[in-house]
């Protein structure tokens, strides 16, 4: 079942700008993950941040995690047209192997 809420639901930006999206969740987690989905295809894993980490970088991606607020953010810097996709956060609760996905943010990058 879904436990995450994401905002905004949709985001439209100009190429080169940064895109920020947020995810909130409800239970204690072991880790939080971000995925990208292009045009209703399969999901691609972007980054995983563990509950004892506060920030993580991967290329143009920066993820933060605030376990006290049960929230995370994903920042995509210097966006490109190819970043146009839906982005989902997913949480893994402590002791649970299953992932629970947020509602997703649809990002459109205009050339």
């Amino acid at each position: 079942s879904q436990q995450g809420e994401e905002d905004p639901q949709a985001l439209s930006i100009q190429e080169g700008e940064n895109a920020t999206m947020n995810c909130s969740y409800k239970t204690s987690i072991n880790n939080l993950q971000w995925y990208r989905q292009n045009s209703g295809r399969g999901l691609v894993h972007l980054i995983l941040i563990r509950s004892n980490e506060r920030e993580k970088h991967s290329g143009r991606l920066r993820v933060t995690l605030d376990t006290s607020k049960k929230s995370s953010s994903l920042l995509i810097t210097a966006s490109r047209a190819a970043d146009t996709a839906s982005y989902f956060c997913a949480t893994a609760s402590i002791g649970d192997y299953k992932l629970s996905f947020g509602a997703g943010t649809t990002v459109t990058v205009r050339a």
Binding site: S1, Q2, N30, N31, Q33, Y35, G40, R41, G42, L43, V44, H45, L48, R50, F88, A90, A92, D96, Y97, K98, L99, S100, F101, G102, A103, G104
Partner: protein
């Protein structure tokens, strides 16, 4: 990482019929899952496919409607039975190697029921 081949990629089916979706992984994996993504929505877990035993279904999903097989550690099928237009969704196969790691997804099956 794992490479997942899921087929068919899309299908249009008549109501009342059944469709079986296949998921083949290029390596042995412990955990395999089936998700449904209704139009414009997020992913909802249908069940965990267990090798050699009955699948574990999430609340709201039942075996009679979504029978699942997993004969070995690299292959699983999901059948959508007695379909209605409400079953029109993307169905996704996913695997995980270990509990606290990332998941890998097939390309999905886009099902339209008419």
């Amino acid at each position: 990482s794992a490479v997942i081949s899921q087929k068919p990629s899309r299908d249009i089916c008549q109501r009342g019929t059944s469709l079986t979706i296949q998921c083949q992984v290029d390596s042995q994996v412990t955990m395999m899952f089936w998700y449904r993504q209704q139009p414009g929505q997020s992913l909802t877990l249908i069940a965990t496919a267990n090798q050699g035993s009955e699948a574990t279904y999430e609340s709201g999903f039942v075996i009679d409607k979504f029978p699942i097989s997993r004969p070995n550690l690299t292959f699983s099928t999901l059948t959508v039975s007695n379909m209605s237009p409400e079953d029109s969704s993307i169905y996704l196969c996913s695997v995980k190697g270990q509990m606290n790691t990332e998941a890998f997804f097939g390309q999905g099956t886009r099902l339209t029921v008419v």
